[in-house]
């Protein structure tokens, strides 16, 4: 069994039997074995990458959330801080509880597996 990990547009393939990280690289024999395993067993042996959805706490404290403390002190002086807090809470309500979902296995896995040549191993 394999698990995909994704960063931006690149993937790493985790072999669940030993936790190894297999790169998506032609010259890597474990990657070739991965493609052969998919060719023989189908996509059921591959789990898509995790898609982590942040909860409202993470969003409110993230880069699009509350302004830094210094900035908010300035807002207090200006009388705009309450409006800023309200705006953030509106954009990221408590109903956003976040969670992790699993993405579909991308099409390239089957495409590359179809190209793989079954090889004998000793």
């Amino acid at each position: 069994m394999y698990k995909l990990n994704k960063f931006e547009d690149s993937y790493s393939i985790q072999r669940l039997s030993d936790g190894a990280s297999i790169p998506q690289a032609e010259g890597n024999r474990d990657y070739q074995q991965f493609l052969q395993d998919v060719k023989v067993n189908g996509l059921t042996i591959v789990e898509g990458a995790d898609v982590i959805e942040p909860d409202y706490v993470a969003l409110r404290t993230g880069v699009d959330g509350y302004a830094p403390t210094g900035e908010q002190l300035g807002m207090i002086a200006d009388g705009t801080q309450e409006a800023h807090v309200a705006d953030v809470k509106t954009r990221f309500p408590k109903t956003i509880i976040g969670g992790t979902t699993i993405a579909d296995v991308p099409a390239w896995v089957q495409t590359e597996a179809d190209k793989a040549v079954l090889q004998e191993t000793i």
Binding site: F7, S10, G19, A20, S21, P23, N28, I122
Partner: protein, 382 residues
């Protein structure tokens, strides 16, 4: 009237007293004729045996070179390099003649023994069916630095237990190569085979060997097919097992070289051999510590995580053959797929792995802006 001899006389005998052709060779005492007593040009070429002419000017009429000379007949430094044909120089090769990496079995980065198949012990050697165990041998005869011992379970049927793969581009088409190694077994074994495989199939069939209980050097010479282009696989110890069980095979000084003669084994330093092996496998583990077994703190590296809890990767020691498969373990742990993030083991994987580095580690639920400690292995074997 026949000659009856000179009448007695006090006068000494002269040439005139000796009739023509009356003295044959048997009447001449060896060494009795001095060189000065032989008249100039009195001995013709027809009277000379050519085998007696060593040292006589070679331009002389009717002179023929002897077919061979004894070594003792050749003066010191008399034969210059220009007089030796290139093709005749078969045992005076320069360095880097051995195309097999770790042919002396010096480097064992993954461990000094294994009981399963695959690459798990001695570098660059892959083991498979019929293999029971692999270990370092102790019979260091013939100046061997190390010996590889393979014990086979010896159930019935053919086994192909040992494989070495030479990377593509190392050997060339149409060239002649010679493969050699020393071998012995714990009992006499007949009918063993070694097989050479390429992209164009098997090169030579029936490269046989019959191991005895004493070390014997085996060698095989072959010419690479003109269409060869790819890796070159060497299978050793193939044989039809008889079910007798537990036979141990020993191999030492494995060498593949260009040419038709198996020359002496090329010894390289441990550092050189290790660097060559690291193109295919390397790790953060201290020398002698076994990945998956050792919990030595000196095996791990420390890197700092970013605001998102992921952390920076690490460079390899020299470029690897291809982007390798990476196994991570938290410092002091043998559990795979983890790093120690601020002291807590977290699931982690290597991302954006090239042949010179792992760009970064994805750490699930990693702590931001703190230390991450982990060991790593990188495998780009063929």
């Amino acid at each position: 009237m026949p000659y009856v001899g000179r009448a007695p006389s006090a006068v000494p005998v002269t040439a005139d007293d000796i009739p023509a052709n009356s003295i044959d060779a048997s009447k001449i005492v060896d060494g009795s004729i001095e060189l000065a007593e032989i008249a100039d040009n009195s001995i013709t070429d027809a009277k000379l045996n050519s085998s007696k002419l060593d040292g006589i000017e070679t331009g002389a009429t009717n002179y023929t070179h002897p077919t061979t000379h004894a070594t003792a007949d050749i003066a010191d430094n008399a034969i210059t390099e220009a007089k030796i044909a290139d093709a005749a120089v078969v045992s005076l090769k320069s360095g880097r003649k051995n195309l097999i990496i770790n042919g002396g079995f010096d480097v064992w980065q993954r461990g000094t023994s294994q009981t399963g198949g695959g690459y798990q012990s001695v570098d660059r050697m892959k083991f498979s069916s019929g293999m029971q165990s692999v270990s370092k041998g102790s019979d260091l005869a013939n100046g061997f630095a190390n010996v590889l011992e393979v014990t086979l379970s010896e159930t019935t049927g053919w086994v192909y237990p040992t494989l070495y793969i030479i990377e593509g581009g190392t050997m060339l088409p149409n060239k002649t190569y010679t493969f050699s190694y020393y071998g012995k077994a714990s009992q006499n074994i007949t009918g063993m085979h070694g097989h050479f495989y390429t992209n164009v199939g098997q090169i030579t069939t029936g490269i046989s060997a019959s191991f005895t209980t004493s070390w014997v050097k085996y060698s095989y010479t072959f010419t690479m097919p003109s269409t060869y282009n790819g890796t070159f696989s060497i299978y050793l110890l193939n044989h039809n097992t008889t079910g007798t069980g537990g036979i141990t095979f020993s191999i030492a000084n494995m060498q593949m070289e260009e040419g038709s003669v198996a020359t002496d084994f090329e010894h390289r330093s441990y550092g050189e051999e290790l660097a060559l092996c690291q193109r295919y496998y390397q790790s953060s583990f201290k020398t002698g510590n076994v990945p998956g077994v050792s919990t030595d703190v000196l095996d791990a590296i420390h890197v700092v995580s970013w605001g998102d809890g992921n952390c920076m990767g690490f460079p390899f020691q020299g470029g690897m053959r291809a982007s390798p498969t990476v196994v991570l373990r938290a410092q002091g742990s043998t559990t795979v797929g983890q790093v120690s993030s601020s002291g807590t083991a977290r699931t982690a994987s290597a991302l954006n792995t090239g042949d010179k580095q792992v760009s970064f580690l994805q750490v699930i639920s990693g702590t931001a802006n703190t230390y991450n400690r982990f060991t790593w292995t990188a495998d780009a074997e063929l």
